[in-house]
């Protein structure tokens, strides 16, 4: 008996489709308000019942109860061919699932994690029992089922990846009835089980996340959730930029020096994020450095200087609290020592001023 991949939730519409899996792996029923839930080691198997509504109800309940232990949802079952692009008897991995509601196609679609899959499936609101119904759906996908759209939708809601393997059982709307009868006798689970085992034979489990979830920067730092998100996205962008590992990037951003600063752990994280931002935005940080130097006389005279948000305009605001005439004199002297034109030329991207600054450095 091959080993079942861990932390999976296998979903079938009918028990008949799951028969081989229940036989092949030692699944045991789980006492849960939703009927048709089984467990085998760290994985679960759910019989959802047929149709979008039933699938949503049962799968929603199971995900609500168990989503922390689920890594991936795998849907297995039969589907009908809507045209010649799918041949009865094939097992196909689904790329994207579309849906049909009471009033026509549902706008949202959900894409499985199988990047090699090339076949789409539409989940119909009712059984496709005549050629007209098949024709209505065929423009959207070559396969039809009754559940996958709900599975994709819930997977998205719970931020879980999903896959779907479909055994093409019939030509929908053409020979649906006869095939349904055949399926009662034969076991569609056998080819599905085989396809499932082949699919997961070569799959390596997801690698560890970029950073440890808890305290990703180690001792001396504290990351809020939003800081952690920023940290991860900046590390990813910097890795793309320089092809370096996280550790090398963090060193470049001065993590060692920041760790020693006598400030709160959250403030250390903030300082590190600012350094990462500077690494990621060399033009902007260079510009800010030059601007800072240019307004230095004002800052030295004790005045607060502010530029427009995102540097989107070419003004600057000078704030000063004047108590005596000495300060007025200081302000006058400082204002004389700096040139607004040069600052505005920088803010307006004048290449000549950038060249001038470069050559003077």
């Amino acid at each position: 008996m091959s080993k079942l991949p861990s932390n999976m939730l296998l979903c079938f519409a009918h028990k008949g489709e799951a028969r081989s899996f229940l036989k092949h792996y030692p699944f045991q029923p789980v006492a849960f308000p939703v009927e048709g839930l089984y467990r085998c080691e760290a994985s679960l198997l759910l019989i959802t019942g047929e149709g979008l509504q039933r699938t949503s109800e049962k799968l929603g309940a199971v995900l609500g109860g168990f989503y922390r232990e689920i890594r991936e949802i795998v849907n297995l079952g039969i589907a009908g061919a809507l045209d010649e692009r799918a041949k009865p008897g094939e097992v196909l991995s689904i790329r994207t699932c579309y849906g049909e509601g009471q009033n026509g196609p549902l706008f949202h679609s959900f894409t499985s994690r199988d990047g090699h899959a090339t076949v789409d499936c539409i989940s119909s609101v009712e059984r496709v029992e005549d050629p007209e119904a098949a024709q209505r759906l065929a423009p959207f996908a070559p396969l039809v089922d009754r559940e996958l759209w709900s599975i994709g939708s819930l997977a998205k809601r719970f931020a879980l990846p999903f896959r779907s393997l479909k055994l093409v059982a019939d030509r929908a709307g053409v020979d649906t009835r006869e095939v349904c009868a055949t399926l009662r006798l034969e076991d569609p689970g056998i080819p599905l089980l085989q396809a499932f085992r082949e699919t997961f034979a070569g799959i390596v489990e997801d690698p560890a996340p970029v950073l440890a979830a808890e305290n990703p920067l180690g001792p001396g730092f504290y990351c809020t959730a939003s800081q952690q998100r920023r940290l991860e996205s900046m590390l990813k962008a910097l890795a793309l930029k320089g092809g370096e590992e996280n550790l090398a990037i963090l060193k470049k951003a001065g993590i060692g020096e920041i760790r020693q600063r006598p400030i709160a752990p959250k403030a250390r994280t903030q300082a590190l994020l600012e350094n990462l931002h500077a690494l990621l935005n060399p033009f902007e940080s260079r510009l800010r450095g030059i601007l800072e130097e240019m307004v230095q006389p004002l800052a030295e005279a004790g005045f607060e200087v502010r530029f427009s948000p995102h540097l989107e305009q070419d003004w600057l605001e000078i704030k000063a609290l004047l108590h005596n005439s000495g300060q007025t004199r200081k302000l006058g002297e400082a204002l004389q020592r700096f040139t607004l034109e040069e600052i505005q030329a920088l803010l307006n991207g004048d290449p000549q001023i950038y060249k001038k600054v470069d050559s003077s450095q």
Partner: protein, 354 residues
């Protein structure tokens, strides 16, 4: 290019233009539909499905066929319109705004060209005193990439011949210029190419002809007497921006005499928030993601203003130094800030996507 299916509206099924297109696709299954909107965009088809499961729709464009371009689009002071004869593109430029636009990457060809031209004529009548009224093709597609299949330009040439006040701008990255060479140049038709330095083209313009091929196509058109235009758009920052665009402009001027270049427009890469999300989803490893862009004052993702102005002006200076007349270089500005304009022509960000 291989289509999975062709959807044809019943109302255009027997039009000669439809028959001509279908003749070129003898192997592809054809499905008749009532209206394009019954299928196209009804469900959200992931953008990257264009690589393996592209469909073609043929139908009649309804509603406004010719639309006024946003304010200050193109050369200052002249009326600008764009007409819609197709949706989507076979190429896959990573920054393309179409990836967030239609909810489906499938190609749509509209075949009611006579109606489009009738509307153009009506627009011309609205501006009797104007010497030029511009009509831009390819706001939602590449003007030439599909021309061998869509075969529409022979239908438009007589219109522009008859209406010398109407100016046509085609915009492309394709090198498929044979249909145009067969038609011959017209004084009021400008064929424009989007160009960027070779490395950017290779990194970002997936599936498009390389820079050398684009320049060669431009050269062929120039030799045949066509007037050409250039879009340096989108420009992506690089430390050697000045030398890269100097080199590019040098290569351009070697391929096309300056007198045959009507204009060079320069625009810096930018995204709307929705397109940026879609772009990140589609190209998570894109080199563009390492750029110094962030949400700006209007929530668009772009470089900080000083940087984008620096880029625009650096490229303009490089063009001027190589002998391009100043009035031919215009900068696509997203703002009407007087200091930013410096005498150039402003153009809205939304107006340009390539």
């Amino acid at each position: 290019m291989k289509f999975e299916q062709v959807f044809v509206e019943t109302q255009v099924r027997d039009l000669p233009q439809t028959v001509k297109i279908l003749k070129k696709l003898p192997e592809v299954p054809v499905r008749e539909i009532r209206k394009i909107e019954d299928v196209f965009g009804r469900v959200r088809k992931p953008y990257l499905h264009k690589r393996t499961a592209l469909n073609l729709y043929i139908g009649r464009k309804e509603g406004h066929l010719v639309k006024e371009a946003p304010d200050a689009y193109g050369l200052l002071g002249e009326p600008h319109f764009y007409f819609i004869h197709s949706y989507n593109c076979i190429y896959e430029c990573e920054y393309c705004y179409l990836q967030g636009y239609f909810k489906s990457p499938d190609l749509v060809l509209f075949v009611n060209h006579e109606e489009i031209q009738a509307e153009m004529a009506a627009v011309l009548r609205r501006f009797p005193e104007r010497e030029r009224v511009w009509f831009h093709a390819g706001e939602f597609s590449d003007s030439l990439a599909l021309t061998s299949l869509s075969q529409e330009w022979p239908l438009y040439w007589p219109f522009f011949e008859e209406h010398p006040r109407a100016w046509l701008e085609l915009r492309t990255k394709a090198v498929n210029v044979r249909p145009l060479l067969q038609l011959g140049p017209l004084p009021n038709v400008v064929v424009t190419f989007s160009l960027s330095p070779e490395e950017s083209t290779l990194a970002l313009d997936r599936g498009t002809p390389g820079l050398g091929n684009r320049l060669a196509a431009m050269s062929r058109l120039a030799k045949a007497g066509f007037t050409l235009g250039v879009h340096y758009d989108p420009v992506v920052y690089r430390d050697d921006l000045e030398s890269a665009y100097r080199e590019l402009t040098g290569a351009l001027l070697a391929a096309v005499p300056e007198q045959q270049i009507a204009y060079i427009s320069v625009g810096v890469v930018r995204f709307t928030h929705e397109v940026f999300l879609e772009f990140k989803r589609n190209y998570p490893e894109s080199t563009l993601l390492k750029e110094e862009m962030s949400a700006s004052f209007d929530n668009k993702i772009r470089y900080p203003r000083p940087q984008r102005l620096f880029m625009l002006k650096t490229i303009r200076d490089a063009c001027l130094e190589l002998g391009v007349s100043p009035e031919k270089v215009y900068l696509c500005m997203e703002e009407d800030h007087p200091a930013a304009q410096g005498g150039e022509v402003a153009r809205t960000a939304e107006a340009t996507h390539r």
